[in-house]
Assembly symmetry: C2
Homo-oligomer: 385 residues x 2
């Protein structure tokens, strides 16, 4: 097991009717900005519940944080917070709204142009406004971690940042708030959580026995509940487990003390930036091909994955690995997510374009062994055609 | 899944040479009290490393926190802290030292007689001194939770307390510090962690899919590494996994959103108080018998445990449950921990005495269904003869 540091001070308030506890989590004197994405929280009553829970506090709203939140949009929220001297942020939405809120929290007190936050990967963050979240979309895990991704519209650069100062103080998670989500978003959430786990698990054996068992347990749970989450949207147990699994997939726990990959995400980000494909769909395109191309490096863990997650015990090593990759692809397809570039009307020209973007962003040594250079990325993308 | 709140702000610093990070975790101006148990930290060099890491800070030492730390001893530490105006506590040891340090942290600023902390189960704690830990003995999980148990020598009352104010700020965990522990303490740690997990897992099915998988993964890991931890004391991977598993067993995660039992602990505490049997040994005595007596209430989870932890698939339901209980008992015995009252020279008179103590302490409705009354406790103890 590698040495590690683990710290996660976010308070989780989980369950039906958990929104009623908002009042006790925010100072009575707070001047609050509620940050929102589209109009779903307004239409399904969640926003009304939130504002009711906030009682007499001064509350402003900021609407329109887009999927893959943009620097340009978020800087409007920063201006509003500064102008109105607001001092507490409340994200109501999914990963994009929460990521955006983290950026706003850090940007408001930032000295200088906040783009520096993104250029430094978050290292230049020295303080942030306090904030909480009301999660409505299980997927990214942003509700219980200290990272985010922001896109600059002008250049389509999609940049991650991370800082100890941008953990949510609390996250309220009510599974019933997911009942009215479009099936597409639920399917995306299932795949997003799945790939968050594999990025921290499908590397090489490193002796993290609990980490491996936890990762396998989360993957098995997703395999079991993924299709059910689509078939029976109002099944509380299924949605509750999906919500909690997606949080545990990326709250730092399963990645502590073990190697991590993240090449699927890096390549996927370029696909989203260039072609506006949903984040989770880009992961479903890249992962199966990456596992195929990197099968030698990942051999030990792929065999463990085959046995413990998919219960594959027949055939020689390579046959079992092939089956595990095929099962992974089939699982993504089973929740309605296509896994080939061609399914998104993309061909070889997209391979060239993505490789060029990876080059431009200096992403020439990806993966747990830093050996996914541009040639390997090209092979992965070709295998995904 | 039940509704839950989860919060755990303790920072974990894990790995070989992690003690060097102590300096960055404690204010430079702190006046520190180091709290210790026996002399092992002094003899094996850990104390020297700790004091070296603390540099120029003012440092006092308090020695002699006993296993099952006593109110009487801890109040001496409270007096020292008050007299010398110390403002940061550092526990160096295992669960008893850490539990004791939590009590001291809460008792120093407490208004009135600190026994009130224990009488209220910790509810009367409104503030506590900041403290950290250097863990030397993997077992109780106290390094990453907010609970403790303190015994009043005069009456042999063993009382638990819990409060949001007594999470360690940090815990430094260096697996190599466990190399020189006596085998008896390692074996106790394995069993203690195992039973912490079963108390939160072997209840009734409640739809906590990730919680179940995590619990099963931790149990499987203990089964795999328990004997190895004794056979090869200097195997880093084994000791590292034991240390991290014991922490994860009781940091609140696997118990969030699911029913909990804790009857084994409550009955075991009385055995320790009356006969001075090591805490873990009392758990090894009680658990197998409790599972036998409560098998109807726990049927669903016992079958799941049999299949997922022990891979028992042959025989009818009752046969599989019998095998799972037998495997549990055999596992405890395999690390050298006897599981019968008779092995500790106790007979029927001990059953009467423990039941009388349970009665005296009002522990007449234990377990996840609150149906372990004094008669059931008596049956459990009789089954353990």
């Amino acid at each position: 097991m590698n040495s590690f540091s683990f710290y996660n001070p976010t308070r989780i308030i989980f369950g039906q009717d958990s929104l009623s506890q908002l009042d006790s989590q925010i100072p009575q004197s707070a001047r609050v900005l509620i940050l929102l994405g589209g109009n779903s929280a307004r239409h399904n009553g969640t926003l009304d519940e939130v504002t009711a829970a906030l009682g007499e506090r001064t509350v402003f709203e900021f609407n329109g944080i887009e999927p893959n939140p943009s620097y340009e949009t978020l800087m409007e929220a920063v201006a509003l917070v500064r102008r109105e001297k607001l001092d507490f942020l409340l994200a109501v939405g999914g990963g994009s709204v929460i990521d955006g809120t983290k950026f706003v929290a850090a940007a408001v007190p930032f000295d200088g142009e906040p783009w520096g936050i993104l250029e430094s990967g978050g290292q230049r963050i020295e303080r942030a406004l306090p904030f909480g979240t009301v999660l409505t979309l299980p997927a990214t895990g942003s509700e219980m971690n200290n990272g985010g991704v922001v896109t600059r519209k002008a250049t389509q650069d999609k940049l991650p940042f991370r800082s100890q100062h941008v953990f949510p103080q609390f996250s309220v998670m009510d599974p019933t708030k997911t009942y009215t989500l479009p099936p597409r978003q639920i399917a995306n959430g299932v795949v997003d959580a799945f790939v968050h786990i594999t990025e921290q698990y499908l590397t090489y054996p490193a002796g993290g026995m609990a980490q491996d068992r936890f990762a396998e347990g989360l993957l098995q749970t997703l395999v079991e509940i993924g299709p059910r989450a689509l078939e029976t949207p109002q099944d509380y147990e299924t949605r509750a487990n999906l919500m909690w699994v997606a949080t545990l997939a990326l709250n730092g726990l399963i990645g502590a003390g073990v190697p991590q990959d993240w090449a699927t995400h890096m390549i996927g980000h370029e696909l989203t930036a260039l072609y506006d494909i949903d984040h989770a769909r880009t992961l479903a395109i890249v992962l199966p091909s990456l596992l195929q191309v990197q099968r030698e490096d990942k051999r030990g863990k792929l065999l463990q994955y085959a046995e413990r997650v998919w219960h594959i015990t027949e055939g020689d090593d390579d046959a079992r690995i092939d089956q595990a990759i095929a099962h992974t692809r089939a699982f993504f397809e089973s929740v309605g997510i296509a896994t080939r570039l061609g399914d998104y009307d993309l061909g070889p020209e997209a391979v060239d374009a993505v490789v060029a973007q990876l080059d431009k962003h200096g992403l020439t040594a990806l993966g747990e062994h830093k050996n996914i250079n541009l040639d390997v990325s090209r092979s992965i993308l070709n295998a995904a055609l």
